[in-house]
């Protein structure tokens, strides 16, 4: 049975509220959770589409988690979907930070905060590594795609080339390779 629009919007809101409420380490740390909730559990969109959402989120300015939320919400339920996902992902932060800002003043340099933060970062490094392989398996299907991925990794990690430039180059390479190959293929048919 198809869900009503209101039920779908409510579900999107709750899903992104959960993502906003439980990820520590920022937008990048949310990617594994977004993948798990939206692709694996709810099956709203495919693995390829979630990678598209990350590509758009990273090549535009703004908060990555909000950008991905808006893209995914818009893809699933239009403008209304984008509004509920954006509010869903923002609201938990807003409530928690407001409470902290009212109650505490100093935490930096606190030894326990630093230990917990190091633990979170190591854990996030682990779950992101797993996400890389899972998404890579569905997106990297030929040698050309593998070469693009390795090049992009080197350029962004060690040479500090801007993400926007690498994405534009990836688009151009994809166009030249896949589109022109397809046209040639049609010619010889």
């Amino acid at each position: 049975m198809k869900k009503t629009k209101a039920a779908l919007l409510f579900d999107l809101f709750i899903t992104f509220f959960k993502i906003g409420a439980f990820t520590i380490g920022g937008g990048l740390a949310m990617l594994p959770i977004i993948e798990r909730e939206i692709v694996d559990k709810k099956k709203y969109i495919s693995k390829e589409e979630i990678v598209d959402a990350f590509a758009v989120s990273q090549s535009l300015p703004g908060v990555i988690a909000i950008n991905s939320g808006i893209y995914i919400g818009y893809r699933i339920a239009g403008i209304a979907g984008a509004v509920v996902t954006a509010f869903g992902v923002i609201l938990p932060s807003f409530i928690i930070i407001l409470a902290i800002a009212i109650l505490f003043t100093t935490v930096s340099g606190n030894v326990y905060v630093n230990k917990a933060l190091t633990g979170v970062k190591a854990g996030v490094a682990g779950v992101i590594t797993v996400t890389v392989f899972r998404l890579g398996k569905s997106v990297i299907k030929d040698v050309f795609a593998l070469v693009l991925a390795v090049l992009a990794f080197v350029l962004t990690t060690w040479l500090g080339v801007s993400i926007v430039i690498i994405i534009a180059a990836g688009a151009l390479a994809g166009y030249l390779y896949y589109h022109i190959r397809r046209m040639r293929h049609h010619d010889t048919d």
């Binding site: 937008g27 990048l28 990678v51 703004g62 984008a82 633990g119 854990g123 992101i128 801007s162 589109h179």
Partner: protein
């Protein structure tokens, strides 16, 4: 009026802030200390709080700074300000991509963009590894506590059904003991 100024400053940050939370923190610091709204020490508190609490780092920072400068409504306008540019830009781009998804040109471009994006996610993993257990000055001296947490998180994500959220929470608790 301070609320309007707060909104505009954070809208500007949302518009020029590429690269997600950690790079946006730097921009927030520059914009706010230039205006004399907060000092360096207070900013490092904000940075620490934003990273240790759940949610997007830049949103956390916006809410916190907004509250400090303009009270409750300050936090509302700062948070909305940092999100509004995303809203317009992402919907425009999403609309375009979804509309022309079936065109061979757009599909070919997306096929080139997807592997590149996976590489960015891999680069994010390296970033978190550098922040926790790899030291570039002495690459052979792995920091063992966080490294054990890293390997444990990978094993848990691959071989168990433990939810990602729980894995990160466990990593946080393990950090208190091992790091």
């Amino acid at each position: 009026m301070i609320l309007i100024e707060l909104f505009l400053v954070f809208a500007k940050i949302g518009l020029i802030g590429f690269g997600g939370g950690y790079s946006i923190l730097t921009i927030i610091q520059r914009e706010l200390t230039q205006r004399g709204w907060i000092g360096i020490q207070e900013f490092s508190d904000i940075a620490a709080i934003s990273q240790i609490t759940p949610g997007p780092i830049a949103v956390n920072a916006a809410t916190y700074v907004g509250y400090r400068i303009g009270g409750f409504w300050g936090s509302v306008v700062a948070t909305l300000g940092v999100s509004v540019p995303s809203f317009v830009l992402v919907i425009l781009v999403a609309h375009f991509i979804l509309k022309f998804k079936t065109s061979s040109v757009v599909e070919s471009c997306m096929k080139g963009i997807r592997p590149v994006t996976v590489a960015f996610i891999a680069s994010a993993a390296i970033f978190f590894a550098l922040e926790s257990f790899i030291n570039l000055q002495a690459p052979l001296l792995v920091n063992w506590g966080p490294f054990v947490i890293f390997v444990g998180a990978i094993l848990a994500a691959v071989f168990t059904k433990i939810h990602v959220i729980l894995i990160v929470l466990i990593a946080m608790c393990a950090g208190l003991i091992l790091c």
